[in-house]
Amino acid sequence: MKELNPVLLKELRQRFRSYRSSLVVLLYLLVLGGFSLGFIYLNWRGSPGFFQPGSSREIFIVLSMAQLGLLAFVVPGLTAGVISGERERQTLNVLLTTDLNPLSIVTSKLVSACSFTALLLFATLPLYSLVFMYGGMAPGQIMGVLGFFLISMFLFAAIGVACSTYFKRTGVSTVSTYGIVFFIVAGTGFLAAFIYQLYQYQARISMLNMLETPMVVQILQDVTRC
């Protein structure tokens, strides 16, 4: 059997041995669970005695938005220092004098960070039972969202590792990673809204221009004459 890459094995050993990892999983679940239950409570308080089963779609959306927000918050923190941290500890030079090539070092760091984040994601799956409890959402839709999260997680992690490799200092790398991830998560939304508004405005303008063409004016004059 092929042996696991030594850097990946070391990273996994260090990450999962530390009590901080369990703490992060606990906090992640508490925040996400609290968010979902809080949303249900607020809905229930509005109409005491029962919960609208039709609201399960809303819970699903709220849960997914919170999950994406947490991922955008956690993944840069986990990845923005993986290479720059090695450089700051002066362990990178030693690592580069071994038989390991730079690509395997970088990919191992990326895979290690992604495995921990994937653990966080899978740990939150039981929370989706809240959605199933009231029906209204197909398992396929939940799997689709999970796939979206996995791809987003990989993207955020890749950005973090790239910044960590490019910038020498972890502080600069962390700020840059959060900046880029924020732009991807929120900035693209704002951009889409802006482009949509622009499109609407242009559609209105072109409609007005069309009304002023000679043919339309002639038709309107004929209609008023009749």
């Binding site: 030594p6 070391k10 500890r89 362990t91 030079n93 071994t98």
Partner: protein, 309 residues
């Protein structure tokens, strides 16, 4: 046979020359000491030998492999220890060594025995299950030395291995270097602790402002400075004025001082030495002691680096 050959090595940072036409041949199985003040280019030269930096000119071969053309072969032939020991949190000493053994593609079955042997070599067997970040600085340095040896390299490049160590830890480190010499390893050590280098090394190379200024055995390097003698003058007061005064005198190569005394690299003969003492006393200084210091490596270093500076 030479384990390391450095020919006309040049490295430039911006407009500053870190290394300028540096030449050095290191014989296989010998321990070489690389001395130089801060910024002399020691770490740059070592980084180039370790394939971590590309030279701007010249050629370097380690164990017969060119650092630019065959970096992978060079890496397999060297054990590199930087001047700072970075630790990984949450790894035990054995795991730390096994990680590097795996990084050098040493078969998994051989690793436990190899780790035990290396920890024994550096006298850390009792700390095998201790976390690396909890070891003392001296122990970390010795563990780093063991790490350098996991793939049985022929050439060891040790950048300031004894820096920041207490006297006991330095003695232990010295013993490890002696052990490496018995194992017929070629070792290149940089250090500021000159007397210890003199004890450990077969050869001494003095580097100043990126240039080689002296090379040879400790005896040869000190003998080569025979034209320049080192004098020490102890005075009761006005040392800064004395240093300024000495700078203006003939036959003075270099002057520096600590509270109470001045060290003079002096190129004159005995008569000139007598005249200098007379001039100092006529200048109003009360001289407590005025004597020639027996030549040693430190004095040669001070004289040589003073000449270049």
């Amino acid at each position: 046979m030479n384990a390391v050959e450095i020919n006309n090595l040049t490295k430039i940072y911006g407009t500053n020359y870190a290394l300028q036409g540096f030449n050095l041949n290191i014989e296989a199985g010998k321990v070489y000491g690389l001395i130089g003040p801060n910024g002399a280019g020691k770490t740059t030269a070592m980084s180039i030998m370790a394939t971590l930096l590309a030279p701007d000119g010249g050629a370097v071969s380690v164990a017969g492999f060119d650092v630019l053309k065959e970096p992978a072969s060079v890496r397999r032939a060297i054990g590199y220890m930087p001047d700072f020991f970075g630790v990984y949190d949450g790894l035990k000493a054995t795991e730390y060594l096994e990680f590097y053994a795996a990084a050098y593609r040493i078969p998994a079955k051989q690793r436990p025995q190899l780790t035990r042997d290396l920890l024994e070599l550096v006298n850390l067997s009792e700390k095998a299950d201790c976390y690396v970040d909890l070891l003392s600085r001296g122990m970390k340095q010795r563990l780093a030395m063991a790490r350098c040896l996991v793939h049985d390299p022929t050439v060891l490049i040790l950048d300031e291995p004894a820096s920041g160590l207490d006297p006991r830890a330095r003695a232990e480190m010295k013993e490890v270097v002696r052990q490496l010499k018995r194992m017929n390893k070629t070792v290149l050590i940089s250090s500021h602790i000159l007397p210890e280098l003199a004890e450990m090394c077969d050869n001494i190379t003095i580097l100043e402002q990126g240039r080689l200024v002296a090379n040879g055995t400790v005896e040869e390097v000190t003998a080569s400075r025979q034209g320049v003698r080192v004098l020490k003058v102890y005075v009761t007061d006005r040392l800064p004025e004395l240093l300024d005064f000495l700078h203006e005198q003939p036959n003075i190569v270099n002057v520096d001082g600590d509270p109470g005394w001045a060290r003079i690299s002096f190129a004159g003969d005995k008569a000139a030495q007598g005249n200098l003492l007379r001039d100092i006393m006529e200048g109003g200084w009360t001289v407590l002691e005025f004597a020639e210091v027996k030549g040693n490596l430190e004095d040669a270093f001070m004289a040589v680096t003073g000449e270049v500076g």
